[in-house]
């Protein structure tokens, strides 16, 4: 597969603050590439550098194998983090305006605008001005403005911030649909669920460095955790806790007086084994969970902190 965006050893400093620290990215054609990281980790800075809005101190960036120029820009669609539309223009005019920055042929543009209105589910709102739109619709307009010209590469910088769950699902479905139609997508978010749901490959960024990269399976293999089991059980004795801790494959144990949480690394039937033991000890138990590792766990284990603060 061809490389669409390649970022090598990218360094960006804001005075003392190092925003990007030798960032490496390699995004292949046809991917939905997720950039995951907490707020302030450098996702947007990286995007702005790729788009050549920002100067950078060191490193190489190429898009479609070239340095960014007008010709390359034609094939890029961008959905910015902040809604960037003209307040005085209505929905259709806004889309036409932004599409017009890329396509000068009128007939083709009209077709594209019609398509994207249908795609974004903005039918019936064509004559509305942005101020009259709900938050979700406004986001969808923002996306429509970015993708109307059918770009080969779409960069979306947190397009679902402050959007209700319904609109969010619609947006995510839309992104997958765009990908099916052949677009490569770079998607930044600090919502790991979104990234897990749609991205084919993910880079986790923290403090301007990508600390892990790969498919979600690959990422999860990076850490020793394979399963987390939680059992509601009040009043466990020291002895019982000790036994639990020494269960096969368990490598960590937490107890807050109510819920026992065991972290496992590999092995099968971990939950059954624990429940069997508790049954034998006649410990009354409440709810029981077994969770597979999430990207949050990946992040937690690699950086030692929660993704969401």
């Amino acid at each position: 597969m061809e490389t669409v965006v390649k970022v090598e050893r990218l360094v960006k400093r804001y005075k003392e603050l190092i925003a990007l620290d030798h960032l490496e990215l390699d995004i292949k054609e046809g991917e939905i590439f997720g950039l995951l990281g907490p707020n302030g980790s450098g996702k947007t800075t990286a995007i702005n550098c790729i788009l050549s809005l920002l100067t950078y101190d060191k490193g190489e960036i190429s898009v479609f194998g070239k340095k960014l120029c007008a010709e390359v820009k034609k094939d890029i669609g961008v959905v910015m983090q902040n809604v960037a539309v003209l307040d005085e223009l209505n929905v259709r005019e806004n889309i036409d305006y932004f599409c017009g920055l890329y396509i000068s042929d009128k007939a083709l543009r009209k077709q594209r605008v019609d398509e994207v209105i249908a795609f974004a589910g903005l039918e019936g709102f064509e004559k509305f001005r942005p101020k009259k739109l709900s938050g979700g619709l406004l986001r969808r307009l923002n996306i429509a403005c970015g993708i109307a010209h059918k770009p080969k590469l779409i960069i979306m910088d947190e397009p679902t911030v402050a959007v209700d769950p319904q609109s969010r699902n619609k947006i995510l479905e839309g992104i997958e649909e765009l990908n099916r139609q052949g677009a490569t997508i770079i998607y930044t978010s600090h919502y790991m669920e979104e990234v897990e749901q749609i991205c084919s490959r993910i880079a986790i960024i923290d403090k301007g460095r990508n600390i892990a990269e790969g498919t979600k399976q690959e990422l999860k293999k990076l850490i020793k955790n394979t399963e987390t089991v939680s059992v509601e059980a009040a009043g466990l004795t020291e002895e019982q806790l000790e036994t639990a801790k020494n269960m096969p494959h368990a490598y960590d144990c937490k107890y807050d007086g109510k819920t026992l949480t065991l972290l496992y690394s590999g092995g099968k039937h971990n939950l059954t084994r624990l429940l069997d033991y508790m049954h034998k000890e006649e410990i009354p138990i409440g709810r029981v969970y077994s969770l597979l590792p999430t990207l949050n766990d990946v992040f937690l284990e690699i950086t030692g902190k929660e993704l969401r603060d």
């Binding site: 804001y14 050549s52 809005l53 920002l54 100067t55 961008v78 005085e88 305006y97 000068s104």
Partner: protein, 384 residues
């Protein structure tokens, strides 16, 4: 590019504030000026029919009655259609004083051996001044003749002959130039409306600079060149600005009937230059990074209002004061140059000055346009 201009136009026009500001400002203020100055220009011209009372306590000196009759048109010396200088309202003291209290009388002339004058306190004004000056002249001539009659009666005939001669010794060289000082307020108004466009120029810059607004960033990542981008936005702004300025000018010249004393084509041309200067000034200041919008706004307001103050928007004599103390400033102050374009044609009837003013304005346009283009040309930012 046409598509961009089209949408810039639409979005500007839908912005009601912009529309009102650009067109309403000169129209509303022009109307107020018109109302305020309308009668002012007249009052300066209105000096005939000065209402006086002549109260005689004794017999009037010889020649006094004849003079008063001549000046009030009672001897038929004033031809039809002309107004006599004086209107003698009454000869009774009580009536005269009552009229003066009501402000309906300019002066009371007392003849009591000598001639004396009573005018409303503090508000005699120029009409009373004219009455007094006429009486002064009469008094001096009367004294000269009567003293000559007393001391050298033999010299009297040539003196009387001289006294009967026409008494205007001044040859007027006045030209037909328009000296209505209030028209310059309208010149200034147009200059101000031109420079106030800088507010629009500022939004032009802010909306197209990635480091100033999200919209700017969004536009900047498109393949359109930055030059075309800013240019199309400026063109749209200029188009609208010019249309509005010219509508306002039509209103001032043809509806209010302000005598600009300048062909309308020149007004259009000057409007164009002032809009270019205003808009590109706004664009220039607007594109300075690191300044808050509020500060840019204040800066632009200070520029447009300050320059117009110095060219006489609030106090008409300002331009002359600067012309006398620091003439160079009038040659570079765009507001003064705009005013001077109209003024030189209207007052000097001279197109040479107009052309030199226009040349300097063009230099300003070129400087500011290049300046704003250079300021906005940058595509990469150290921070957003």
């Amino acid at each position: 590019m046409l598509n961009r201009i089209k949408y810039e136009l639409i979005s500007l026009l839908r912005n009601k504030i912009v529309v009102f500001w650009l067109m309403g400002f000169p129209v509303v203020l022009g109307t107020l000026f018109f109302v305020a100055f309308g009668s002012l220009a007249d009052s300066e011209q209105d000096y005939s029919d000065i209402r006086v009372a002549v109260v005689k306590k004794t017999e009037a000196p010889e020649g006094f009655d004849e003079m008063m009759n001549a000046l009030s048109g009672k001897d038929g010396s004033v031809s039809d259609g002309e107004n006599p200088l004086f209107e003698i309202v009454t000869d009774k003291e009580d009536t005269a004083r009552a009229l003066m209290e009501k402000g309906e009388l300019e002066a009371i002339i007392y003849v009591d051996g000598d001639v004396s004058l009573e005018v409303p306190y503090g508000a005699g004004g120029i009409k009373a001044g004219i009455v007094k000056s006429v009486l002064d002249t009469f008094k001096s001539r009367y004294e000269i003749i009567s003293s000559a009659a007393a001391s050298h009666p033999e010299k009297l005939p040539p003196i009387i002959k001289e006294a009967e001669r026409e008494t205007n010794y001044i040859k007027s060289e006045s030209n037909s130039a328009n000296f209505d000082p209030y028209v310059q307020y309208f010149y200034n108004l147009l200059a101000m409306s031109g420079l106030m466009g800088s507010m629009m120029g500022m939004y032009c810059a802010i909306n197209h600079q990635a480091n100033l607004s999200a919209l700017g960033a969004r536009v900047e990542i498109s393949p359109l060149s930055k030059f075309k981008d800013i240019l199309s936005s400026l063109i749209a702004t200029l188009l609208i600005h010019n249309v509005f300025l010219n509508i306002a000018s039509v209103y001032l010249v043809y509806i209010l009937g302000i005598k600009f004393g300048v062909p309308f084509t020149i007004i259009i041309a000057v409007n164009f230059l002032s809009s270019v200067i205003g808009d590109s000034l706004g664009c220039f200041i607007g594109s300075i990074g690191g300044l808050k919008d509020g500060i840019k706004n204040a800066l632009l307001l200070a520029c447009s209002l300050g320059l117009c103050f110095l060219s006489g928007l609030m106090f008409g004599g300002m331009r002359l004061i600067i012309e006398e103390s620091f003439p160079l400033f009038n040659r570079i102050n765009p507001a003064a140059l705009i005013v001077d374009c109209f003024y030189s044609v209207c007052v000097y009837g001279n197109y040479e000055k107009l052309i030199s003013n226009i040349v300097i304005l063009l230099i300003w346009c070129a400087l500011l346009l290049t300046g704003s283009m250079i300021m906005t040309r940058k595509r990469k930012y150290n921070s957003i």
